[in-house]
């Protein structure tokens, strides 16, 4: 090796590291950006309404998004594989109702059993989604749009054959307590959401199967070529989404007490907003649970801010829509900017 080419090599290594840093930064930018947005909201609203800044309020925000966060974790798994699950709202709704009904009809029953029932129901529904998409080769939008309404219809049938509404007084207090107890001063709902986020986040980072999910979304054909069992992974992702929706449904019933067949209608919008805002690429292959959690918190904070500022809650849905569009547009611009920067750097090199 001559010194000249060694010099070139060092220069290249530096530019390499520089580029790696640039791209690494961009993926971190999302999480940093969300923190900044969060800070901005907190500051601007806090100035106008000081009670916004209380710990109590912060706890309220986290409580309000805890269930959303759990569902969003499941949705993330699906979106990472380049699919989407629009039926999450219906899955939460049906599991909430069925679980609450179960507790109402069998008041002495073991709490754990009820929870398992809800989760199992969610798991089954998720597996149906997975079968249709993975093995029936029906595109995820079509499949989950269909199950969105099919599952909602099922709740309705179930409810009209049993009872139209279940009240807080109908269910055992141990069930309701799920949502109100605190451990070390932190509500269990928030703890459960946090634990799930940590477990799934860990899975995605530290386990080979988790990494394979990213591969499937990033380049499905390449994944196939190296022997990754794409169909099974996609099926598992939908099943997991269903399972988490089941758990969320159980918690929903505990939190709200009064449950009917219209629960969680439209939840999928908030979930997709949290996922997209949280930096998960809608085409799959990239995204972190941390980002999604931050996304959910930002949305929750926005909702809380609207409340505190006495702005009509009617702005909320419009806000979700704007957030989704904004996030996707922003991502498009960032990608373009990054590509242009890399290209121009390479020309100079």
């Amino acid at each position: 090796m001559t010194t000249a080419s060694q010099g070139v090599k060092h220069a290249k290594q530096r530019s390499q590291a520089g580029q790696a840093r640039l791209l690494g930064l961009v993926s971190r930018v999302r999480e940093l950006g969300l923190l900044i947005v969060l800070l901005l909201i907190v500051l601007t609203v806090g100035v106008q309404a000081p009670r916004f800044l209380s710990i109590d309020n912060f706890e309220q925000i986290l409580l309000s998004v805890a269930i959303l966060a759990i569902v969003a974790v499941g949705e993330t798994l699906v979106v990472l594989t380049r699919n989407v699950d629009l039926s999450v709202g219906s899955m939460v709704g049906i599991t909430a109702f069925v679980t609450a009904y179960f507790f109402k009809q069998l008041p002495g029953i073991n709490l754990l059993l009820g929870i398992l029932l809800g989760c199992a129901l969610g798991l089954v529904l998720g597996m149906i989604n997975g079968l249709i998409v993975s093995f029936g080769r029906v595109p995820a939008i079509v499949a989950t749009l269909g199950t969105l309404y099919a599952y909602r219809g099922l709740v309705f049938i179930f409810s009209s054959n049993t009872t139209s509404q279940i009240n807080a007084s109908d269910v055992p207090s141990s069930y309701l307590a799920l949502a109100t107890t605190q451990i070390f001063g932190i509500p269990t709902l928030i703890l459960i959401a946090a634990v799930i986020a940590i477990i799934v986040g860990y899975f995605l980072h530290a386990l080979q199967t988790g990494r394979q999910l990213y591969a499937v979304g990033s380049n499905p054909d390449a994944a196939n070529m190296i022997g990754i069992r794409r169909d099974w992974l996609v099926f598992a992702a939908f099943a997991a989404s269903g399972l988490l929706c089941g758990l969320a449904g159980v918690l929903w019933g505990a939190r709200f007490g009064t449950v009917d067949s219209t629960n969680a209608t439209g939840l999928e919008l908030a979930v997709i907003a949290a996922v997209v805002v949280g930096g998960v690429n809608i085409f799959g292959g990239s995204g972190t649970i941390l980002g999604v959690m931050l996304g959910a918190i930002v949305l929750g904070t926005l909702q809380n801010a609207l409340n505190i500022l006495n702005v009509s809650q009617f702005w909320l849905q419009a806000l979700y829509g704007a957030a989704i569009i904004g996030a996707v547009v922003l991502d498009a611009f960032i990608t373009r900017w990054v590509q242009r920067t890399i290209l121009s750097r390479r020309k100079k090199a």
Partner: protein, 332 residues
């Protein structure tokens, strides 16, 4: 084209069969089904908004995109119409503005998809929420309901001499126009080319971006028109008008044989599918099955309309493969 035609014809034959089965079941389940009032009025008016929105949706899906925001846009334009009327604007002007809102909204969708090259699925999920949200912002939880009879006649009244609603006339005119465009005009040919092979279309001098932009604008205007008809029919402008209609529209199009990935499908199938879904909705209504369960049925229908052909194709492939293996040449 011949082979394609024969394939389509067999799907359409299936649809005709389904329609007939539906009609038979309907007449068995309810004595009112075959009444002229039901067939000429109740059934058509209930499916009308979905029917007319399915027309541009067909074109959009054939071109390889999708627009999930149509029902929300219907709600938004309905609310705008109601609000303007409440504030004293003359009806024709209010309708004009509503249509304009549809145009602008469609333009938004179109620009996001063409200029920024964003996937239409995500964009229209976002606008689905945005438009519906704006509808709530505009009217809150109120409703506007004191519309003039001249207006409500549009959706509610019948064409003199028949029992058909006025809106059916609009539908017929639109069907004729859309069929002409899709199946007989050069723009239709461009659409099929784009849906089949976007790059080859571009290499043939077709301005793919402009075509798609026009499609989204068209979808927006038609959704606004559907909003006008809906408001007139129920004589009520509410933010939650037509929630969930996008499911029906997409179902109708896919059931009609249009391939979700683009490039294939015909309006004949879609029109048949409109009738099938109309009959289904009508029959379920006559036997007092609620809207939520109707939704369930449609949801299943949607899934089956794609799953069915997939399974059929797989079986076909398995059969052909078995035949090939049986007769394959041995290696040297």
């Amino acid at each position: 084209m011949k082979r394609l035609k024969s394939l389509l014809i067999s799907w359409e034959a299936l649809l005709v069969l389904l329609l007939l089965i539906g009609v038979v079941i309907g007449s068995v389940l309810s004595p009112y089904f075959l009444s002229s009032f039901n067939l000429a009025y109740a059934l058509p008016s209930n499916i009308m908004e979905i029917a007319i929105m399915a027309l541009p949706m067909t074109l959009i899906i054939i071109a390889g995109e999708i627009d999930l925001s149509v029902a929300s846009l219907l709600g938004l334009t309905s609310v705008v119409l109601g609000l303007l009327w409440q504030r004293g604007l003359p009806m024709w002007l209010a309708i004009g503005v509503a249509l304009l809102v549809g145009l602008v909204a469609g333009c938004l969708n179109g620009l996001l998809v063409t200029k920024l090259a964003l996937p239409s699925l995500v964009v229209t999920i976002g606008t689905l929420a945005l438009f519906r949200g704006l509808a709530y912002v505009v009217l809150g939880d109120q409703a506007v309901s004191n519309f003039p009879t001249a207006f409500t006649n549009l959706g509610f009244g019948t064409i003199p001499g028949t029992e058909l609603p006025w809106s059916s006339l609009i539908f017929v005119i639109l069907v004729v126009i859309f069929v002409m465009v899709l199946h007989f005009s050069r723009w239709g040919r461009q659409l099929y080319a784009i849906g089949n092979n976007k790059e080859a279309a571009r290499f043939s001098g077709i301005n793919v971006s402009r075509v798609k932009l026009v499609l989204f604008i068209l979808s927006g205007v038609i959704a606004a028109l559907a909003g006008v008809i809906f408001t007139s029919r129920f004589s009520s402008a509410r933010p939650d008008n037509a929630v969930g209609f996008e499911l029906y529209v997409v179902t109708v199009v896919l059931l009609g044989g249009v391939n979700i990935f683009g490039g294939r499908g015909s309006l004949l199938g879609v029109v048949l599918a409109i009738f099938i879904v109309g009959v289904l909705q009508n029959v379920l209504g006559l036997v007092n099955i609620s809207g939520d369960i109707q939704n369930l049925a449609i949801g299943l229908l949607l899934i089956l309309s794609v799953l069915g052909p997939n399974i059929a194709r797989r079986i076909q492939v398995l059969i052909t493969r078995r035949r090939l293996v049986a007769g394959s040449p041995k290696q040297v």
